[in-house]
Structure formats: structure tokens, C-alpha cells
Amino acid sequence: MLGPVDYALWGMSFCLEVGVVVCSIARKEFFRYITLNLYMLAAASATVGHYFFFERFGLTSLEYFYFYYYSDAVLTILLYFCIIQLYQHIFEEMGVNTHIRGAALLLLVGTAWVSFMMVRQHENHMTERFVVELSQNLYFVGLVLTYVLWGAVMKLRETRTRIIQLVLSLGIYFSAYSATYALRNLFPHLEFTRTILPPLVGTWLPVAWSYTMWKVPAEARLATARLAATFSR
């Protein structure tokens, strides 16, 4: 049974996801960050879908279970496109967009193929343990990709504050989700890994992205050297 806090989190998630798109439109940056905005629109639609399935079939139904985990997997793959666009922003002056697109396509096909094979092997017994493992792996791939992207930001001394904050919030999101799913995989009976943590982590990305879109001007610059922790200044 869901309480008022759960409903509030549901409503808040939807508002925040739409909020990112509204902020982008207000700042006239919708097309510059098109994949980020499309992801947020997809996430808002999935939130509405979760509510619909919950109302129609119930929280413990198989329909809700399938919809929740499949939409989550699809959204994670959509987030890969966001990472690819951020890669393109960072490497735009080096003219390596074709290479990035090629590598991204390869990665996407690879991830889709492995996921498809995993789902096909387990289609007759789609246990919760399996879907948790699949999500854990998808989020971990996202984390690795974001970490490499962060390495590129530091190496190339990227100074655009907006890009830096978008990448860092994505890194926090992927690592928090990856840790949550890994913890759930290790200790399936830990209640907070399925009730409290996922919706809380889920609200992070729209909150952080709307903050970045709204508060950080496009022309703001930041020295990456200030972000690395060094004991002397």
C-alpha cells in the first residue's frame, strides 16, 4: 500500500521532469540539449505510465512489474544517448563527431544485443533477481561511460560550467542507481533499497538538470583545476 509520501514523490518526479524541459525552452536551449529534453519527456511519460499501471493493475501485479522494469531499462538506454550528446559537446572542436557516433552505435547495438540475449534466456522465468541484475549492469555501463566522459572533461580542460554540471549530475545519478541495484542484488531483503532509495535517486537528475538549466548561464566558465581535490592551494 502506498502512502501520501509515495504519491507526493510520484507527482514531484513528474513535475521536475517536465520542469527541465520548461527551463530549457525558457532559456532557448531546447534543441542544443535535444536528447536530454527528449529523455526527460520520456521519463515524464513513464511516470504517468507507472501511475496508470499501478491504478489499473495494482503494485504487486505482473503488469506493473513488467512495465516498471522494461521502461526503466529503455530509459537507461535513452540516457546513453544523452551521454553521447555530451561527448559531442566536449569533442565538438576536435571534429571527431563521426567517430563518436560510430562508437556510440557500436555500444548501443552491443548493449541491446547482450540485454536481448539475457531477456531471451530468462523469458520463461523473469524473476525479480534477474531484472535487478539487468538494471544494475545497465546503470554500471552508464557509470563507466560517464566516468570516461568526466576524464575527457578534465583532460581537455573543458570550462563550460553548464556542461561540467550536467556531466557531474549524470555521474551522481548513475553511480547512486548502480550502487542501489548492487545492494539490492546482494541483500534482496533490504526493504529501503526497493522503497525509499529508487524514488529518491530518481528525483536527483531532474532536480540537478533543472537547476543547471535555470541558474547556470550558457556563458559561465569554470576552471576544471578547481574541481580536483588537492591538499595545496
Binding site: 568526466w150 548502480s178 546482494l186 569554470l222
Partner: protein, 136 residues
């Protein structure tokens, strides 16, 4: 085994990303000069904002109405300050250089809170001025 490894790597990465994110927020605010009014209110005049000022500034920030969705960044910096506070005492005896760095970071967190307070005071003043001009 694999899940445990993923968990450890994810937690380490989470800490690193969070630290860098907070430092990016702090770096953006460090270039903003504090106004005279906030210096008067907080008693920060000639001397610098210190690490221990954070709690007091944070409380003052919460007395002002929210301005332009800064609550998320304040919460993130509050968490960062709390984490640094936990490191501060044990590091003082073990690694003085690291303890010095932690102290400077905590002072930067205080400065961030002072900038947020400044923004909230300015916004509240503006709203009051608008209100009084509307009444006239």
C-alpha cells in the same frame, strides 16, 4: 561477487562525482562579492568567512524566503559540509595537510552559504519594494 565489486566501485565513483559537483557549485559562488548588507547582518566585516560560520549562516538562510530554486544546491553543500566535518577531527592528528584542506573547503562552504543569504536578502528586499510601490 560481481555485485559486491559493482557496489564498491559505484560508491567510490559516487563520492568522487559528488565532491566535484559540490566544488563546481562552490567555485561558481566564490567569484561573487558579498554585499555590505549581508556583511552587516552576519557580522562579517573585515575578516574572512570561517569554516565555523556555516551553521549560523545556514540558519540565517532558512529565515529568508527561498530565492530562485537554490534549496537543492544549499542541501548539497550542507551534506558536503557535514561529510567534511566528519573527516576534520580524525585528520587533524593524522594528516595535518589534509586537515588544512578540509578546513579551507569548510570555509568555502560557509562562503557559499553567505552568497546564498545575500541573494535571498536582495530578493526579499526587491519583493518588499515592489509590494510597497504597488500599494502606493
Amino acid at each position: 561477487m560481481m555485485a559486491a565489486l559493482i557496489f564498491v566501485i559505484s560508491v567510490v565513483a559516487l563520492l568522487q562525482f559528488f565532491l566535484s559537483y559540490c566544488r563546481s557549485l562552490i567555485a561558481a559562488s566564490s567569484r561573487i562579492e558579498l554585499s555590505e548588507s549581508v556583511r552587516e547582518v552576519t557580522g562579517i566585516e573585515d575578516h574572512k568567512v570561517t569554516a565555523d560560520d556555516f551553521q549560523r549562516l545556514h540558519q540565517l538562510v532558512h529565515l529568508c524566503p527561498e530565492s530562485g530554486g537554490d534549496a537543492m544546491s544549499l542541501r548539497a553543500i550542507g551534506t558536503y559540509y557535514g561529510m567534511l566535518g566528519m573527516l576534520h577531527t580524525p585528520l587533524r592528528g593524522l594528516a595535518p595537510a589534509a586537515a588544512g584542506w578540509v578546513d579551507r573547503e569548510r570555509a568555502s562552504c560557509s562562503y557559499f552559504a553567505a552568497v546564498a543569504l545575500d541573494a535571498r536578502i536582495s530578493r526579499t528586499r526587491l519583493l518588499l519594494e515592489e509590494q510597497s510601490s504597488n500599494q502606493l
